[in-house]
């Protein structure tokens, strides 16, 4: 079969989109299958996915892909028929094969089809086709003529396979070494160009094909699109109404009272329609957090095998939706937190039994909406954070002094975990211990204007709670006045606002602080940080906006609170991109520009 020379881009795009989607689901399904191997429906679904991939790629002439998919399919087929039983070993191989398929697909996506070494993986699959000698595996349905020579019947012994294979690869691969005409039947007297084809590149490390997902296109529910169209229709009506009112006004056909009333009504309807519209568009940008979460069962599985721990990962609220921009950023921090929980938090089965717990640990990954925030928590029932040990380690590393430690509350001790380079592990392992992880978590969460909270009970487990804004494009903000200048503070970082007498401020080591209930809150005077020229005498009373950035809390001293407003974030452009304490700008109702304060950077200015 001649390979399609990919001029039919549409066909190829369709293939890639479909395959990518199938592969994303496949990982998750495979893990589920391992836990529950009796689920025939699931089994069939997996089989169908891989079969579809094989069918489509053979149609398009991606022979390398067909080969791998085909063998995987054969193994799955035997599992399906009950000729084989699902074991972790089989799963390992199937997962490896899936990874290889991902790599091959991403090659195709990149438009750079390479000859990759597929034999290693295929050879691992083969034993599962030949054991239990009975079965003759028939390639179901799909006559894959092009690959027929490659698909060695299982009767051939595995040992003879490697020898035959490399030749077959060179022949059937649709990749374009110059002059290598795709030949359906391997000729022994292969022409020269084939021999000079570049040696197959080794398959990249595990998970090399992870980043298949494409972020340039969106799938939108048709219903949502219809709703959007409705809203736009209404907006057009309101616009016409506005034009009418304006015309009447120009021609002096209305009296003042009527105009006021009409215009007032119009304003209300306009604001209603636009906010509906905003919600609709926002919803379209939303993705279920599942997109990130579904990677984790796989990670947890391989980690628990590596660590020799038994872990039951429970995922709650994966349908919770959040903005694409946020989804793209939370993957990394979550991986770190999960690693930490598995490596530091959960104990080995023996330790757990000794502590009177069940053998297997539980890791709960949950997502839930709360107001305009999303809360993601990672909770384990492991050993919890040993504040004593954390403190000792911090002293040992010279991060804090003995006196500082004794003065610290549990909260402050937990904050130590976020210091770069901090690790309680004696030795760094593959998984954790270099002290980078929590720093990454902190940085990414800060970038998203999020907050981190740690709850932990020694011996009973820990919980890391991330609070993230739903979107980064339009935010709720608190407008404040600093001696005549208006600034905007993202409401997601505002914890509370208080009106206080300046005489109640205390000075500790040159740092102004405020005693707020049981905590001592460091204060930052925005007037000083932003060099605002003072006007007239300062008043006794001022407002303190308590903000949180990742794990930090502080108070921003402002002159007056102006109000709460939904604002669209505008960038300040490259030239003014990195002004300390400023995250961006926004345009107020009166057309003026107001700067958005970055509580994160503010905390660093303060450091």
């Amino acid at each position: 079969m001649p390979p399609i020379d990919c001029e039919d881009q549409e066909l190829l795009d369709g293939f890639l989109a479909e395959t990518t989607e199938l592969l994303e689901k496949l990982d998750d399904d495979l893990i589920t299958l391992e836990k529950d191997s009796d689920d025939t429906e699931l089994m069939n679904r997996i089989f169908r996915s891989i079969h579809t991939i094989k069918g489509a790629s053979s149609f398009l002439g991606f022979d390398l892909l067909v080969k791998v998919a085909h063998k995987t399919e054969d193994v799955l087929n035997r599992l399906r028929k009950g000729e084989l039983v699902v074991t972790p070993e089989i799963m390992d191989v199937i997962l490896e094969a899936t990874d290889l398929v991902k790599i091959l697909v991403s090659d195709i996506k990149a438009g750079d089809i390479q000859e990759r070494e597929t034999e290693g993986t295929i050879n691992k699959l083969l034993p599962f086709l030949t054991v239990a000698a009975a079965a003759v595996v028939q390639p179901p349905l799909q006559p894959t003529t092009a690959t027929e020579p490659v698909v060695t019947p299982p009767s051939v012994t595995p040992s003879s396979e490697p020898a035959a294979a490399p030749e077959a690869v060179a022949d059937s691969a649709p990749s374009q070494p110059p002059g290598a005409a795709p030949l359906p039947v391997p000729k022994p007297a292969a022409d020269a160009p084939k021999k000079t084809a570049p040696p197959p590149k080794p398959v990249q490390g595990k998970g090399g094909g992870d980043d298949l997902s494409d972020n340039t296109t969106v799938r939108v529910d048709v219903k949502r699109l219809d709703d959007l169209m409705n809203q736009v229709g209404e907006l057009v009506l309101e616009r016409n109404r506005m034009i009418q009112i304006n015309q009447d006004l120009q021609q002096n056909e209305v009296n003042r009272v009527d105009f006021n009333e009409d215009f007032g009504k119009l304003t209300k309807r306009m604001s209603f329609v636009t906010s509906e519209l905003q919600m609709q568009v926002l919803k379209m940008r939303m993705l279920p957090v599942e997109k990130v979460f579904k990677k984790f069962p796989r990670i947890v599985r391989s980690m628990s095998r590596d660590l020799g721990k038994e872990v039951d990962l429970q995922i709650v609220g994966e349908e919770t939706e959040l903005d694409r921009s946020v989804v793209d950023e939370i993957g990394d921090p979550l991986i770190h937190l999960i690693r930490n929980a598995m490596d530091h938090g959960l104990e080995t089965p023996e330790e757990r039994l000794a502590a009177g717990k069940s053998r297997g640990g539980t890791l709960v990954l949950a997502a839930v909406h709360e107001g305009n925030q999303i809360i993601i928590s990672i909770k384990d029932d492991g050993r919890g954070i040993d504040t004593e040990r954390v403190g000792r380690k911090a002293i040992e590393k010279g991060l804090i002094t003995e006196e500082q430690f004794t003065a610290m509350g549990q909260r402050e001790v937990f904050d130590l975990l976020f210091l770069p380079g901090f690790s309680t592990k004696e030795k760094a392992t593959d998984l954790s211990g270099r002290g980078v992880g929590m720093d990454v978590v902190k940085t990414n969460i800060k970038k998203l204007n999020g907050l981190i909270e740690i709850k932990s009970t020694k011996g009973a487990g820990s919980e890391f709670i991330l609070r993230l804004p739903l979107t980064l494009a339009i935010i709720q903000s608190l407008l404040v006045e600093v001696v005549g200048e208006i600034y905007s503070i993202p409401l997601s970082s505002v914890l509370e606002t208080i009106r206080v007498d300046q005489r109640k401020f205390h000075l500790i080591g040159g740092q102004e602080v405020l005693k707020l209930r049981d905590i001592v809150l460091p204060l930052i005077r925005l007037q000083k940080v932003f060099n605002v020229q003072p006007r007239g005498e300062t008043e006794d009373f001022c407002y303190v906006v308590v903000v949180g950035a990742a794990e930090k809390r502080m108070g921003l001293v402002v002159t007056r609170l102006v109000g709460q407003q939904e604002v669209a974030i505008k960038s300040l452009g490259n030239y003014l991109a990195n002004i300390p304490g400023i995250a961006g700008s926004t345009i107020l109702g009166d057309g003026r520009v107001a700067l958005i304060i970055d509580p994160v950077a503010m905390s660093e200015v303060f450091e």
């Binding site: 200048e485 940080v529 932003f530 060099n531 605002v532 505008k570 960038s571 300040l572 452009g573 490259n574 030239y575 003014l576 991109a577 990195n578 002004i579 300390p580 304490g581 400023i582 700008s585 345009i587 057309g591 003026r592 520009v593 107001a594 700067l595």
Partner: protein, 164 residues
């Protein structure tokens, strides 16, 4: 369009016509390539941006886009003056980013041939950086300094903007 820029940059002996926008700053006349000027506007409300170099006047709202504003007088070390009716902001395209420059007045668009551009004299008084002077146009009645504003911010300054 592309060709029009070449003589200014490379060698000024070509006879190709180029168009310049001329503007005034402290009694002197300057010119910039017309293709770099996006628009010329009156002074709107400028929002001050803290912790920036002194010549950054702030940012403005240009039909929904936030554009930084530079005071040419401050940047070139000239005496500051009150804004008046003549004061304009020239919004320029600087490597794909918009940036506004406050000038005393914008006068006209002139055509000159590339051969009229002379290299700038070795010593130029005032605080204007040699770097951003692309040449001098010496006509009978006027002397016009041709600026290349993209060179206005030295590497250090750009770093200061972005690396602070």
């Amino acid at each position: 369009m592309q060709n029009a820029l070449v003589p200014v940059k490379a060698d000024a002996t070509h006879d190709e016509l180029i168009q310049l926008v001329s503007f005034n700053l402290d009694q002197e006349e300057y010119g910039v390539d017309v293709l770099k000027v996006r628009e010329i506007i009156r002074m709107p409300v400028v929002t001050r941006v803290p912790n920036t170099p002194h010549y950054v006047e702030g940012v403005i709202n240009l039909r929904g886009k936030v554009v930084p504003i530079i005071s040419m007088r401050k940047k070139f070390g000239l005496i500051e003056s009150e804004n008046d009716k003549q004061t304009r902001i020239m919004v320029m395209d600087m490597d794909g980013e918009l940036m506004g420059f406050i000038v005393d007045a914008v006068s006209e668009v002139i055509r000159i041939s590339g051969s009229e551009i002379q290299p700038s004299p070795a010593m130029v008084a005032g605080g204007i950086d040699q770097e951003c002077i692309a040449g001098v146009i010496n006509q009978a009645e006027r002397l016009l300094v041709l600026l290349n504003l993209e060179k206005m911010f030295s590497r250090d300054e750009k770093n200061m903007f972005t690396g602070m």
